[in-house]
Symmetry: C2
Subunit: 311 residues, 2 copies
């Protein structure tokens, strides 16, 4: 293995991706999770999505939540991302004072239609309009390329489709690219190869590449490591692995943020996040959703922690 | 990432490590799991351990089980390993017609005393005697170095202790070295570094290095990949992640053999094992132990399998 970088960004996606498919929880509970994440050292997080409340009821309070976190986020230097699917959502997000926007474009046409109601070409046109809107508010837009490592409808996807879509998105002004393993079909060799190719597209424009991974087939941390080894600078993850795409059958949870932070910290690749406090945050999230979560480290404890070493 | 080797050996440890800490199950159930593993293509497996029945009741039928599998194993070209802790166990194993022996030596003195009733130095003396006994039966002995990546009592272990113990074991005639992450404390950078160093010790003597991994902190598959990337030729794993060391608090299950086989096969590193049939074997094991198992692929299905891609 090559030496890992000295640090990476771990973006917590609990409050958006993690909760989007759950029964709606109270704003107070969301705020408690938000505060616990900040206390643990998280400085980059998906806060919510500005989408149709009838389609994703758990995100209906997006504007309120953004407004309620504005001051605390500013004080702590936290970047809050809001997911949007169109200009209308982008305007809501910007009006609510969200810091930056994520715009989702699927690589697979079928997933794109089911997830966002339009094919890939149309989505890329919408992206250009959203970037223009964001520019006027000094917000940046990151494109999240869904099904980048495989699609539940189409199966494997073509690497050329991913790099071409990334190139178009960069031409339209995105400032970051997220490669999403929507249904957990990525494997480390492919993740590394795709990340490298997309970095080749992004680097000349100064656009960094992050990954959004699921642990569906036990490869969440392995894929994160492969991605970072290949040059990805950010890994998305959620408390207790909460999450999954409601419009992608077979998607189980995200890779657990405790597992990801624990792994990278143990390998001397700094995340700025405290694992023990992250486990506290996972406990709060567990209480909020009312069921046991996944993830390994929250259950076993960090390696060599006093509590895991019997006397 | 470097290209993976064209193939690796995945050794199934369900019947020994996986069951050792469970309520004893019937011999007929063990035979059903054994047959299902062979049907799936497994050709290397830990069959049982020849240890004190009062300490590990689930392995009390070791001799019977070895005898009952002798013919089928021979027909299928299956190598059955029996774990032993001393000469008495080795003699029982050899009398029962087991193919090869695993002898456990802990790196940590404290784990050694709790697991095998003696410190490391004494264990290495016992190893020499067992190798001599095995030689007379044309069986080979592999040493399993327990707590090689960390100990529940001592915490981190010194790499020099692992290489020194490996060197002594090789001098005493072992033909294989297994590095065991007994309580799931290994992380990929350390796993790769340790495997490389132990290969440096083993290679001049023609002794291969394998790894025995747990998924305690979500790193099972990542560690397997790091080990193979570093030159390990064999990965141990169990159906549904069954297992854990009864004398190592905090040890959760092994890494799931379905997850390991699925990952390596998806990366074009052949195991000779069919994932779908392995999931069938996991279902049989689930029935035998009477509770749901861990592991990801048995739940989600292999990626891109027709059953996981909605039409």
């Amino acid at each position: 293995m090559r030496p890992l970088p000295a640090s990476i960004t771990v973006r917590d996606v609990t409050l958006r991706d993690g909760l989007q498919d759950e029964q709606p929880i109270d704003l107070a509970d969301k705020l408690a999770v938000f505060e616990a994440l900040i206390d643990a050292g998280v400085r980059d997080l998906e806060l919510t999505s500005f989408v149709r409340p009838d389609r994703v009821p758990a995100m209906a309070d997006a504007g309120q939540f953004a407004a309620a976190t504005h001051e605390a986020a500013g004080d702590a230097g936290v970047v809050r991302w809001g997911l949007v699917l169109n200009q209308r959502g982008a305007q809501r997000a910007l009006d609510a004072g969200i810091d930056h926007l994520q715009f989702v474009v699927s690589i697979s046409d079928e997933h794109s239609r089911r997830n966002a109601g339009a094919g890939v070409a149309e989505r890329l046109d919408d992206l250009a309009a959203v970037v223009a809107d964001a520019d006027r508010s000094q917000a940046i837009v990151e494109v999240t390329l869904a099904t980048a490592f495989g699609c539940p409808y189409q199966g494997p996807v073509d690497v050329g489709d991913v790099t071409a879509t990334a190139r178009t998105a960069i031409d339209q002004g995105v400032r970051g690219i997220g490669l999403a393993d929507t249904v957990g079909t990525g494997v480390p060799t492919e993740v590394a190869a795709l990340v490298e190719q997309v970095i080749d597209v992004g680097a000349p424009a100064g656009v960094p590449v992050g990954v959004h991974l699921h642990d569906t087939r036990g490869l969440g941390v392995a894929n994160a490591l492969a991605a970072v080894d290949a040059g990805a600078t950010r890994v998305d993850a959620s408390l207790g692995g909460l999450g999954g795409c409601p419009f992608a059958p077979g998607a189980s949870g995200n890779v657990s943020v405790e597992d990801v932070v624990h792994a990278f910290e143990a390998m001397d690749c700094r995340t700025g996040i405290d694992v023990a406090r992250l486990i506290d945050a996972a406990t709060i999230a567990t209480g909020a959703v009312g069921r046991a979560l996944d993830g390994h480290v929250a259950l076993a404890g960090p390696r060599f922690a006093p509590s895991t070493v019997p006397t």
